[in-house]
Symmetry: C2
Subunit: 365 residues, 2 copies
């Protein structure tokens, strides 16, 4: 075979891709609490909308997804030119990196948070500045963010993997002191007591990203949106892949956004289970952080009150043996003693706690 | 409102996005021959596959789209590790740019061809080398390509917007002389007499991209794939957005690829109409290039045998008045006297020719 002499870009040499939670081929055979999916199917209206769109699949989709922009504008009481849609919110995070960072303009993020930010920055050849948390409750150090010098900053709020909620007043102080483009990644905000949306009226260097993957049960459809000042949206639109959102994604998202009743119902059930699960952990004396998301971040303890990486890892593997998948982030001191557990259906939460109790009662070496 | 002081990356300053053909909001109200869509709906199996996948939309899709890689491997008698799927083939073209070009590694393309290559290169901050054609029949200048010095080269084959077919022997000579990564964009190859696929056994610096948008009637679903050496595929996979292909796109593409009968039937009808339309133009003495695609590139002439930009533009506007959308590329001497007309259903081709004849019989000033 004849070989060429082409090279890979130095931007991707030694690059490690983002590693998602395991996606089992037969999802029905396990209790899947590892990627923060919604345990309930999407609105029945989604199925109808998609079925009626299939016959038009031979035609390209509407490039800007106009109808969706109008729907979200109504939902949040904004203008359509403040909104852009992406193939999942990951698409929009990538657009932010591509528009507002390069080898001269750096990016910042809280560390640890969503590791994709770093992956995307590396592919762009942008320096990533990792700002540490102020304490082990994932409190922000506003001064450190304001002075980090990045042109773009990603804040996951509520935070992942901890579920920590940042209040509006604190985010306002942050926006007032950080002068780059502040991207507040609100992937989990529908499960939280408040959102940064009111700040859009006060600051033009703020972008809020949302996903339909979690609260709208559409992880499999890849739809997210971002909200910001029209001048920022315009820049992102210029670099957006022209047909980034397919016809079925547009039709399905539209139906899901419009069925407010189904949305609220699923949300209530998930929040109820989250509070139940947190209470269960409290009752056995395990530390959890108050969660504003669809998961609980918990520090497992042995019967003799020991905790740490080996304890967390032991429970992780015990649960896996019981075909219960959760997520473990062993690489950082703030996360290595914890497990992140997505909120499932009531029965799944009961089975999880049964397995947890079985583990605590075992000789754990 | 408080303003930040963030800047856009210099890579996107003054950037012009790719401009697709017009997408009317009510596609039924026009004869749409401007974006090379397939006039027939996708296989009925697509609808069934999608309907049965909707209930799993709350779960993330399979990141590498494993089933699709296996299906395409069987289809082309290859190994799954030679294949990668994208959110449309545009996603894969962009991955090529991101993996194999940067401010040091340049990109090459034939000019004019698919203008997206240039748009993608600009956003990456990569120099684009435009190689001119050898003549007005869009013949390749192999020496000019081989010596252009780019690390990556895009060749649209069959060519767009001309439909020109490059034969396997010529592509083999090209691969033997150009030492960078040669991307043969076979978006239209299913409509052509041959493909570059046999060259994959001979060269490891060759990547072939395909789309399901045209020949599989799935422009609205955004599915494409690329075929190449496992080491090239591995690089592209590292930079690929982890969930780039949603569940419905995976299920629908699978069904479309497996229904060979529907595929062949649509293909035959389109090729039959293409030959009929070419013959119609020949019979009135208009120049067309032999097309290996689902469109015809034709040079309109007035009744007194004049041609040129004003003549092409005149017919373009006449057709638009008749609600027939075609594509006109006025920016290059090789295309400014031509129109590109996508192949539609028989009835649409008849209506098109009626409108053309009405135009030729008018006083055209």
């Amino acid at each position: 075979m004849s070989s060429g002499s082409f090279r890979a870009s130095r931007r991707i040499r030694g690059h490690d891709p983002y590693l998602p939670g395991e996606q089992p081929i037969l999802p029905g055979s396990v209790i899947k609490l590892n990627t923060n999916e919604n345990p309930y199917p999407p609105s029945p209206q989604v199925e109808k909308a998609i079925a009626s769109e299939v016959e038009r699949l031979n035609l390209y989709p509407n490039p800007p997804a106009c109808d969706l922009r109008h729907t979200v504008a109504r939902l949040h009481d904004l203008e359509p030119n403040q909104i852009i849609f992406g193939n999942g919110s990951d698409d929009l995070l990538n657009l932010c990196i591509r528009c507002f960072s390069d080898d001269e303009l750096s990016v910042g993020m809280m560390h640890p948070s969503y590791s994709l930010y770093e992956v995307l920055a590396r592919v762009q050849g942008s320096e990533m500045i990792q700002v540490p948390f102020a304490d082990d409750r994932f409190s922000l150090n506003l001064e450190a963010i304001a002075s980090c010098g990045s042109n773009l900053f990603f804040l996951t709020s509520p935070h992942a993997p901890s579920g920590r909620v940042y209040r509006l007043a604190e985010l306002r102080r942050l926006a007032a002191t950080f002068s780059g483009l502040l991207v507040i990644d609100e992937a989990y905000a529908d499960f939280a007591p408040e959102t940064a949306l009111p700040l859009l009226e006060e600051f033009d260097h703020l972008l809020i990203t949302r996903t339909l993957s979690k609260s709208y049960s559409l992880a499999g459809l890849r739809v997210g949106y971002a909200i910001g000042h029209p001048k920022v949206i315009k820049q992102l639109d210029m670099v957006r892949e022209v047909y980034n959102l397919d016809r079925l994604a547009q039709a399905g998202a539209q139906a899901a956004l419009n069925d407010r009743e189904h949305f609220q119902e699923c949300l209530s059930k998930i929040i109820e289970q989250r509070e139940w699960l947190s209470e269960q952990f409290h009752s056995i004396g395990w530390r959890t952080l108050p969660s504003g998301a669809n998961f609980v971040f918990v520090r497992p303890e042995t019967a003799d009150k020991k905790f740490g990486p080996s304890v967390a890892s032991s429970l992780f593997h015990h649960l896996a043996t019981d075909k219960i998948l959760v997520r473990y982030f062993p690489k950082h001191p703030l996360t290595e003693s914890y497990l992140r557990i997505s909120i499932g259906k009531q029965q799944e939460m009961v089975m999880l706690m049964n397995s947890v109790k079985q583990w605590t009662s075992k000789d754990q070496r």
